[in-house]
């Protein structure tokens, strides 16, 4: 492993651009749209990325996230809008004219070149001196821990090693912005988890700006400092992982990110900063007032399964009463044991189903619930999220 890498190299930085310091705006996407035939793949996306950020574009397949990434790399030209990198509009620039590199989902390693020549490919094109190329390549090889494999061809490497070569090749030119298209999709679960950590470490150490495209919400949550959720060509919400999970902006995002209990609700009355609402499936609930006032009287209320507590009897103490304002009686209808947690599906007496995720904190769990057992499910008003339906 090399220590801090030298960060000044005018030979590779396109036109000797001065890089914005961390936290300063680096990339601005303004109303970008792309249509293929009659299909609007990207429909007016605006987004600001700061230097040093690890940003994730998350969305189901076909939501336009890859098209957006390809427009940043220069493989597609946007039909509308501007892409500003350090203040310069690069929307129509060709891929080789941008100080941006991309790591491909298929890795796209050149099969006829060795690991070393793959990594050196972009440096040779940049007209770097031979000796400098050799130094940079060995730096990169050390960075991704591929020492000893420099002479191998891509088909003599394992999947994880190929992934590292692709990463080293994309990083070698020290781009202002690194794009990663589903970089871990081809790895198995264990390797994926360790690679996630390494990617984050690398990004922090190099102070580089990463934009990753993924359909795996856990991957996005783990790695990114900010996530943009895309749906049907539009950015639905841009937020930190925590905000996205705890304060989703729409019903769709609430359902897309993590598991959730959703009930259709109707406004009944206001009690200070709380709302009393009526639901068909879960009876009357008390919820915290949303930050933005809802114009309508009909909406959805969402509760994450791990916020739902279960007990055999209703809490008796005063404090217990306060936290258990929302108390729902029911029977255990389904048990799904996942090792660390157990998901209980509770059939409520009011008719609906409620999921509760309980941490298995003791090995010999005498407190575990069994099928058809009567339970009380409870949660606080603050655990409920009110969403437009």
């Amino acid at each position: 492993m090399t220590d801090e890498l030298p960060r000044t190299d005018a030979a590779v930085d396109a036109a000797g651009d001065v890089r914005p310091a961390a936290g300063q705006p680096l990339l601005r996407i303004e109303g970008v749209a792309k249509t293929f035939g009659s299909f609007r793949a990207v429909d007016g996306v605006s987004l600001d990325i700061k230097a040093g950020e690890f940003f994730a574009l998350l969305g189901p397949s076909g939501c336009g996230k890859t098209t957006l990434l390809r427009m940043l790399a220069g493989f597609e030209a946007p039909d509308e809008g501007r892409i500003l990198l350090g203040g310069k509009d690069i929307a129509q620039a060709l891929p080789h004219e941008r100080p941006i590199n991309m790591m491909f989902q298929s890795y796209a390693l050149f099969p006829h070149l060795s690991v070393r020549d793959n990594i050196a490919f972009g440096l040779k094109r940049a007209g770097m001196a031979r000796a400098d190329i050799a130094t940079r390549v060995s730096e990169m090889v050390a960075l991704v821990k591929l020492e000893g494999l420099e002479k191998r061809k891509p088909d003599q490497l394992s999947g994880g090693q190929r992934q590292r070569v692709a990463l080293a090749r994309a990083l070698a030119r020290r781009p202002q912005l690194l794009l990663l298209d589903e970089p871990l999709a081809a790895l198995d679960k264990k390797l994926r988890e360790s690679t996630q950590g390494e990617l984050m470490e690398l990004q922090r150490r190099l102070g580089m700006t990463f934009i990753i495209v993924t359909h795996d919400q856990e991957e996005a949550m783990t790695m990114a400092s900010r996530i943009g959720v895309m749906k049907a060509g539009r950015l639905d919400q841009v937020a930190s992982p925590r905000e996205l999970y705890e304060a989703p902006r729409s019903r769709w995002i609430a359902e897309f990110v993590g598991d959730i209990n959703l009930f259709d609700a109707e406004f009944k009355l206001r009690d200070g900063h709380r709302l009393v609402i009526g639901t068909r499936d879960a009876g009357t609930l008390v919820v915290a007032e949303p930050r933005e006032a809802l114009g309508e009287t009909r909406f959805s209320v969402a509760i994450r399964p791990e916020k739902v507590k279960l007990s055999r009897r209703a809490p008796v103490s005063e404090a217990g009463r306060e936290t258990a304002i929302n108390r729902l009686d029911g029977v255990i209808a389904d048990i799904c044991y996942l090792g660390g947690t157990t998901i209980y599906k509770v059939k409520l007496d009011t008719g609906g189903m409620l999921q509760a995720s309980v941490v298995n904190s003791a090995r010999l769990d005498v407190d575990a619930y069994s099928l058809n057992q009567n339970v009380v499910a409870w949660f606080t008003p603050d655990d409920c999220v009110v969403l437009p339906s």
Partner: protein, 270 residues
Amino acid sequence: MRKVSRLSRFNIASLAFGLAFLYLPILILVIYSFNDSRLVTVWGGWSLRWYREFFNDRAMIEAAWMSLRVAVAAATIATLLGTLAAVALSRGERFRGRTLFSGMLYAPLVMPEVITGLSLLLLFVALNAERGFWTVTFAHTTLTMCFVAVVVQSRLGSLDRSLEEAAMDLGCNPVRAFVAVTLPLIAPAIVAGWMLAFTLSLDDLVIASFTTGPGSATLPIRIYSEVRLGVKPEINAICTLVIALIAVVIVIASLASKLSSSQGESAAPL
């Protein structure tokens, strides 16, 4: 798997029969090319007499030289054009009439040679072109170009498109990306295409006889006209040499295409 790999008696018999049917005539021809006798069907002991005869037969040597030159020129032009067509069809934008265009490119694969030959003859006559080396070469280019295009296009189709994109991402303009990445990966297919075009041109009789002129007969035409006057053992010697040449070319072509398919399939480790 043992059951499958073990051949039953019936399989061995049918295999032997099939191979004999294919190769026995050729084997007899090769053996008789070393015959000392003046009569084709009578064995008179081993000798290289007819090979000497061939190398002293100026008309025959000229025809062979003509055939070689035509084959090299036609194969080279066809490889160039066929490769360009393959690249245009598999890499270009989806233009209108693309399917029609590729269908038209491949039509000569199934077109009866007589028709190709006749239509080319009519064209050359209409253009008032002097028939000889170049007319045969152009005719063979049209015949063999589609074969090259098929070979190269199948190779291009199996390549990961993002390889070229990666090259552009790493600083190549589109032309540079093609030369630095795609060309080395399809080179074996291009070589195989050239070899295929070469052998096709070398043994073509029909189109050559339509499009050639006086004094520029190719080897197959020469042999055919000799045989009509009666088979000389010398023909056996020439044919043996042609078979040897084509065998060598085909072995090289298949080695090249094997090399091509073992290397550089899409790098996705899925």
